[in-house]
Symmetry: C2
DNA sequence: AATCCTTTCGCGCAAGGC
DNA sequence: GCCTTGCGCGAAAGGATT
């Protein structure tokens, strides 16, 4: 259909006509004559509608007064000075140092606060009329701050000269100091040099200038607090999900881990893996490897099962406290006061590469032709009655509460690495970083 | 497996041992004995590692002095008052209104600024020794702002009582007003009620309270700029995708629209729909429906085809410039200087409901047993040779550039409504709003 | 280091607004 | 009355000059 004839239209317009609302129309698609750029000029369809239904421009529009009319009074009405003002809003503001005897309009109220500590006579409470008296609101720090920010936004590099600002905003420089000091305290601003400050922006709206992530101490604390709260929420959610999943009777039969599952974890590739099954209060102690290659486990609530999963031999590499098996694995059991104390020493060739693993979920395992590792523990024998070739490694107990997570990670890993199987990436948290 | 025996361990630990890095271990899962809360005390496994590899606590830690020692001087050293001070940092700060004659240490400098405008004698420049003189910096607005923020972070709900704050920070309330006013100007804070302000935080760390997106003007401009850029990016991406899809030869055979497709668009339900197929420069003019129910189309690059799709009769409702057909549809063709001018008037019963439509994609159409509407235009006859019952409505031309979109939407609709089929929801943009 | 000038800004009075 | 806050004095801090 490549330009079969000059009569080939190249746009399709769907015009919906519902009753009298003729002005509502839809152009489904429209497109030029493509690649073969025959028409050098842009081709497009113009839709001309009556003014009444002019489509809202999707342009950004700044709500408050935009640059240029900085002196509007957004929230409050104008004043009613001596009587001829709209009368809405606040009553007239009196006292104003500058309007001493001279009543020249718009007298630069202050310049740099320099030599103008002269007049201060007896504040004439009622100035004639013209002098645009400002309400208290008009000169408020809050409003001034807004104006100041606008000004700041104006400059592309985010740098602003205070004298200039004071001039434009027609305020004493003193007031700007109030603003800059506070903003600096929140690290939204930075003193660049004498009379010059620079906008830093909040960590996300960075732009213009050295975007050091906002590090105001106060802000940081706040943000971290927020973050913490969010994480708490996430943890709660995750815990809940897991609990739900585990409680669900339908899932019970999948609640186990096979040797395959473990071996499939990429980050454990070529590693000597020891699986420990123990009561929750069990203590796992790992002394500095420089001293001795040992792991101490102690439990007072029940027995500890230890399994060794090597990479090569898929069968019968399991070991437990009762039937230790491998040469380099020594498992001893001592009986302490009110508990057992096991200690074992391991040895193996290492390999440091750690990728984000694709830890196979238990459910996943049901599809694999598992080459199981049979646990030799007697206490597990009951679970061993599993269909087909899936001999479970160990089964999971249902509930999983937040404070039961205990993690040990590589240096390169973060907490998120433990949550791979929960697909943390789809949770809102990460999306915050765009 | 519901508590089959007391020998049932309730945790599984996977200990990875890579070479000598014994301290690197992973606990795959760990969970307590669930629902049947037999153990009232918390169950968990402790991992004890040597100090050298102590895991960084994931807790929030306040960098600056945390509450309680608010009077440290983070950036500057302390003063060297009369001589016995550390001598580093700034020279001694003199003047301090409160330290008149009495030199009682830590005299509450101010309370609420109430009745304490008494002493102010002749600032005794050198106070004996003990009075912890403060440098100008110590009492600076900037520092105070930081402290203030810390305090704010302390409260979980982000609400802070000013009197309380003034009390804790040992400053006149007046100073806090300076801070709150400015912060309010930047919308980091909100006046909640008399004596109470609330933290709003930057738009992303929202939480706790009505999270009005931060609307400081300066901030807003910056954020909108970002947003604009992001949208530009999205548009570019979308355009590119569409172009790719259209150019892909494999997709060519699906590049058409059937009568079914159009009728399937929910928002067009019970509407009189007119499809227009015209060159891209075609002008579509819709006068105010109050004046006349007319649509004017004009093209100078090629013929215009107009199709009427009514809801009921699936067959032969198509119309084009040459063979007009329906009573209420008048299509006239005039020959202007270098173009054609068509004008048509339509009439129909309306229906206002507009839902987010599920505009069927062209590809989708291949599965439908379409009841096609055959276009009567001669120029289209070539495309009519389609397999089976799928008589295409009109075929698409490949390229589709961004400025070739021309949209006409209902008032209730937004631009996104046009992008439904691209599943804009899965794009990062929306995720920003958590 | 003494002097002077400029910039920064603590501070609290008193006006404004309930 | 109380809370809020504009306002500007005057001192401190930071150069610049000699």
């Amino acid at each position: 259909m490549r330009k079969g004839g000059s009569s080939f239209p190249d746009k399709v317009i769907l015009s919906r006509v519902g009753g009298s609302s003729l002005d509502k129309n839809i152009v489904l698609t429209s497109f030029p004559d493509r690649l073969a750029a025959n028409y050098s000029s842009a081709n497009y369809i113009q839709i001309i509608t009556p003014p009444s239904c002019a489509t809202q421009p999707s342009n950004v529009c700044v709500p408050d007064s935009s640059a240029g009319c900085l002196y509007t009074t957004p929230l409050q009405g104008s004043t009613n000075g001596t009587g001829q003002r709209p009368a809405l809003g606040r009553p007239p503001a009196k006292r104003r140092l500058e309007l001493d005897i001279t009543d020249h309009q718009y007298s630069e109220p202050a310049k740099t606060g320099r030599g103008q500590k002269a007049a201060l006579s007896l504040k004439s409470p009622k100035a004639p009329k013209t002098p645009p008296e400002k309400t208290r609101y008009d000169t408020s720090l809050g409003l001034l701050t807004k104006k100041f920010c606008q000004l700041l936004a104006q400059s592309s590099d985010g740098v602003l000269d205070l004298n200039q600002a004071a001039d434009i905003l027609k305020v004493q420089k003193r007031r700007l100091y109030d603003i800059t000091n506070v903003l600096e305290g929140v690290h939204l601003i930075k003193k660049k040099s004498k009379n010059n400050i620079q906008w830093m922006g909040c960590s996300l709206t960075s732009e213009g200038g050295p975007l050091h992530p906002d590090q105001s101490l106060g802000r940081e604390v706040l943000e971290l607090t927020q973050e913490e709260r969010r994480l708490d929420e996430l943890i709660k959610t995750c815990s809940h999900s897991v609990q739900q999943m585990t409680e669900e009777l339908h899932n019970q039969k999948y609640a186990y881990v096979t040797y395959q599952d473990i071996r499939r974890i990429k980050s454990l590739k070529d590693q000597t893996v020891i699986a420990v099954k123990a009561p929750s209060e069990t203590k796992l102690e790992v002394p500095d490897p420089k001293e001795s290659l040992q792991v101490h486990l102690s439990s007072s609530q029940g027995p500890i099962d230890v399994f060794l999963c090597t990479d090569d031999s898929p069968f019968h590499n399991g070991l437990d406290v009762n039937g230790n098996h491998a040469a380099f694995l020594k498992v001893s059991q001592e009986n302490g006061a009110g508990g057992t104390m096991d200690s074992l020493t391991v040895n193996g060739s290492s390999n440091g590469s750690v990728n984000r693993n694709d830890c196979a979920s238990p459910t996943d395992a049901s599809h694999s032709s598992a080459t199981p590792m049979s646990p030799l523990t007697s206490s597990l024998s009951s679970i061993l009655q599993q269909p087909e070739d899936q001999i479970p490694f160990v089964s999971l107990s249902p509930a999983l509460l937040s404070d039961d997570y205990m993690l040990g990670l590589d240096d390169e890993q973060g907490i998120s690495d433990l949550f791979d199987s929960y697909d943390l990436d789809t949770l809102p948290l990460d999306d915050l970083l765009v």
